[in-house]
Chain length 286, copies 2
């Protein structure tokens, strides 16, 4: 087995993603040392499960790490990044796993002295968040997007990160942060907001009794509606322009449909287009 690309790894935030990274390191890079940063209760849980070697409650306690992974909600990641920069140390590579990339890439670019930061976004996800739902195979076969600062000169760090996540079965890809944010506004943020808005509107109208008559369609369409509010408030705040455009696009489609309901011509044509895109989406998936 090759040596791990990073010998000592600090993971700040042991939720679904951070916890799954810890478990995946255990499986693929067992020689690496893993230090978790979180509240004492989560640390105890992660230590008990053998996911981490050591737990700390403040990122600045971490010393001599080769890699720091910021895996908290985005605003917290921005604070953690500032805290790391304020306490200069050996040049650990720093990455994050947040769902938007421009805000943190710009924050890292502004640091003096600079940190070797490469933004990252694993496309995984599960119905529920938190360490209890973490799994070592969460990233298997899934994309992991990196958004290095084009002028940053961290090619060597990027190469090590790509090796690191390939070890989890992920497929690394490189993208400009703005391209990432616009794409994710449609692929991820719009479905999330739509699912939550749909669940709220439908629940309020149907009530507890009415929901008993819901079929599998509503159940699938609103699966995302159990996502944690704090994570999504931060995503919305750091990608509001792109999400706004995506919402406008959806609202325009729904408004067209509404006008055409009695005749149904636009309904039929939208359904045909949607079915074609759905078939594209499902190519190569189960």
């Amino acid at each position: 087995m090759p040596p791990p690309p990073f010998g000592s790894i600090v993971i700040a935030g042991l939720g679904l993603i951070g916890g799954s990274i810890a478990l995946a390191i255990r499986e693929r890079w067992p020689a690496a040392r893993v230090i978790g940063v979180d509240r004492p209760a989560v640390i105890a849980h992660a230590l008990g499960g053998g996911a981490i070697d050591r737990g700390i409650t403040t990122i600045t306690e971490a010393r001599d790490a080769d890699l720091v992974v910021l895996a908290a909600p985005i605003r917290q990641n921005l604070e953690l990044l500032a805290a790391l920069a304020a306490a200069p140390r050996d040049r650990a590579v720093v990455t994050d796993v947040g769902g938007t990339k421009r805000a943190i890439v710009e924050a890292a670019r502004a640091l003096r002295p600079p940190l070797p930061f490469v933004g990252g976004h694993p496309i995984g996800g599960a119905e529920r968040g938190g360490f209890a739902f973490a799994r070592p195979d969460l990233f298997d076969g899934r994309p992991w997007i990196f958004t290095p600062d084009p002028g940053g000169g961290y090619d060597e760090a990027l190469g090590r990160l790509e090796t690191f996540v390939r070890g989890f079965g992920a497929r690394p890809a490189v993208m400009e942060a703005g391209t990432h944010d616009r794409l994710m506004a449609f692929l991820s943020h719009l479905p999330q907001l739509t699912a939550s808005a749909l669940m709220e509107a439908t629940g309020r109208e149907a009530g507890v009794e009415g929901l008993h008559f819901a079929g599998r369609g509503l159940v699938d369409t609103t699966r995302l509606a159990s996502s944690p509010a704090d994570v999504w408030r931060d995503i919305c705040a750091t990608n509001s322009d792109a999400i706004g455009e995506a919402l406008d696009r959806l609202i325009a489609r729904l408004t067209e449909l509404r006008a055409d309901l009695p005749r149904g011509g636009a309904v039929a044509s939208l359904f045909e287009d949607a079915a074609r895109w759905r078939a594209e989406l499902m190519k190569g998936r189960d």
Copy 2:
């Protein structure tokens, strides 16, 4: 085993629902004779699979049935109902399985002489339509709503229909057609239109390459987007007022979210409400 509540059953339309009814009859009421009405290719498929005893291509060929089930798209069901009324026969009970109920209940009420019609709507559904996806357990544990005309006097027919579908494991419920249509505008029609509009808007923006970066969230939220256009054009046309109100409600929520993206207060509060409704929706489901 008790005798079947209907000894001879005509099913007009052997798609997902009609085909699943035929298969469920085979399992639960094997003494019943099943006659399918559809195109010759579908008839051949259903005969080959043993789902029906006999196939015909025109509903008026059916003679001496105890029950006629209209299982085509809604507009076709309306035409089939008129054809049945124009060719008077023994007083077979007539029901349908369409996703809206006011249009067909009103059409049945206007018939002279009247037919013993009781509208029905099994809440099942699967990712894809057509006989190829029919299954005998499609209705197991799921509601099956009946919407008898309050002044129709078909209590005995309703009772036999309830026994009939209980045999498939369904849970019969009785509801006024208008109540049904309004409830389904939110529980079923709104999720369907939303999923299709979301898939179309996202596919068009992301393109084939971009869709490779989609996570499980988009996949779940757009599952309904492969639904058949013809079925849904008819549902929209026969429930446009209620669906219009449901769309207005969703558009209003999305517009509020859009305005609040940078701050995120409305986002957080909507997410919390949505997560509560989602928990209600999932009570008693897997």
